[in-house]
């Protein structure tokens, strides 16, 4: 398999950076710091370029020059007011920009939050506990595997009410209230555990992705960068460790 020079170079750089960051698992070292700062720099540069493309060119320059949307100069002027923070005497002008953004954000949030995150959530929580059967009578769905079943509906209702009660401090959590608050804690613990497990597995998935790349780049067609750069990283860590032992930091 003949690979182009840019692919091979890319494989070497990607492998090196991956190994440099993984070297942090041994200890904090200059190779990791190098990769870490490069990560911040490259991601910042990427964000700047993307913002330039999507905001400056797509939202400002093209609409103004091609379609004559001169009204877009208003948000540009408001945005420029933000930069007055660097001029102490005119810094108060930046308040107009912040006032505009915060005012719009607050105004947009009130009806939408009430509608989507409060009323809709309550509506989905308070559901009928029974359903009318097709041939008459009533039915109750016991299935735990169906999140929309009646049994799960009751569990969700208990969970929402008990967790809300746990965070409600206007009444003392004693007597029956204590039992409800305890149930709330149990629901919270299960949720935190689930969130933890889910996050760990997502990170593991990323790790598997990186290891898959390392295995692919150990192929001879790439020049075996995984092997050579692994040896180089280990050798560097040994040298740095010995140098650290020879010159311990002053107390």
């Amino acid at each position: 398999m003949d690979l182009s020079f840019d692919v091979i170079l890319g494989a070497w750089i990607a492998t090196g950076l991956t190994l440099f960051i993984l070297s942090f698992l041994y200890e904090d070292n200059p190779l990791f710091k190098l990769a870490e700062h490069l990560y911040v720099g490259v991601s910042l540069g990427y964000t700047i370029v993307k913002t330039y493309d999507t905001v400056v060119m797509t939202l400002i320059v093209h609409p103004i020059l091609d379609k004559g949307e001169w009204s877009l100069l208003i948000p540009v002027a408001i945005g420029m007011l933000m930069l007055t923070r660097y001029v102490p005497k005119a810094a108060w002008l930046s308040r107009y920009a912040f006032a505009f953004i915060v005012g719009i954000g607050a105004g947009l949030a009130i009806p939408r939050t009430i509608s989507s995150f409060i009323l809709k959530q309550i509506e989905d929580t308070v559901r009928p506990l029974l359903a009318a059967a097709p041939g008459g009578g009533i039915t109750f769905d016991y299935s735990l595997l169906n999140p929309a079943s009646h049994l799960n509906g009751i569990i969700i209702l208990i969970g929402v009410v008990s967790v809300l009660f746990y965070f409600f401090f206007s009444v003392e959590h004693s007597g029956p209230g204590k039992a409800v608050a305890r149930a709330g804690i149990l629901f919270l613990m299960i949720s935190f555990g689930a969130a933890f497990g889910y996050t760990v597995m997502a990170r593991m998935s990323l790790l598997i992705g990186r290891l898959t790349d390392l295995i692919e780049f150990s192929d001879a067609s790439y020049g075996r960068p995984t092997l050579w750069l692994f040896l180089l990283t280990v050798a560097t860590l040994i040298v740095l460790s010995r140098r650290g032992n020879a010159h311990p930091p002053k107390q």
Binding site: D6, I13, T18, I21, L22, E36, L38, Y39, G41, V42, G45, Y46, T47, I48, V49, D53, V55, V56, P75, G79, L83, W92, R95, A97, F98, F100, I101, V102, G103, I104, G107, L108, I110, R112, T113, I118, Q121, D124, P147, N152, I155, I156, I158, G159, V160, V163, L164, F167, L188, I190, S191, G193, A194, A195, G197, V200, M204, L206, L207, D213
Partner: protein, 216 residues
Amino acid sequence: MMFLRRQLPLLITMVTGLVMAAQYYVPHPASEQLLTTVTKWLQIIGGFALVLGITSLFHVHASKIRRKEAGWAYSLVLYVGMLGTIIVGLWNGGKESVDGALTSFGWVYSYTLVPLQGTMFAILAFFIASAAYRSFRARSREAAVLLVAAVIVMMGRVPLGEYMLPISGDLSSWILNVLNASVRRAILIGVSLGAVALSFKIIFGVERSYLGGGKE
């Protein structure tokens, strides 16, 4: 001058807030157009906010290099990475690929940013696991519940876990879709009530910290 510096910003917040809140209840094309325009304006203004953040970072690292503080060479690496990416990105017009072929900007993205980002987040798995080992020991009933839920969800997300404990897949889905959903819903309702209250306080000038301190 006091009006211009203090009261006019509060007035702007109040007027824009009330207009945008009212917009939701006006089902008219002009109202929809207002929302579209304002959303676009916010994106544009947000771009300038990014300039503020970047300038601050620029300043911090520039002073580190100028004063030759400890680790100044890493700041230089940051600058080189950033400026290199910007130059390559602008050269390619911000496009990662053209007609399916990777541009040099796309090359930087695929072979630098993706591995760096992926590995940086991947090593967090080790730190989370080590933190969990120290703090998850079932010292109380609540901690035991958390531990069991975490183990079941972890097992249910991988084929090996389902092979070892066949019920873990269904149990994991139930925990995520029912128990976890109920807690998320309760927290969402609580947070939303707080957000609405804060929005009212901002619009009516009770909460003013976003205007910053300094001279009146």
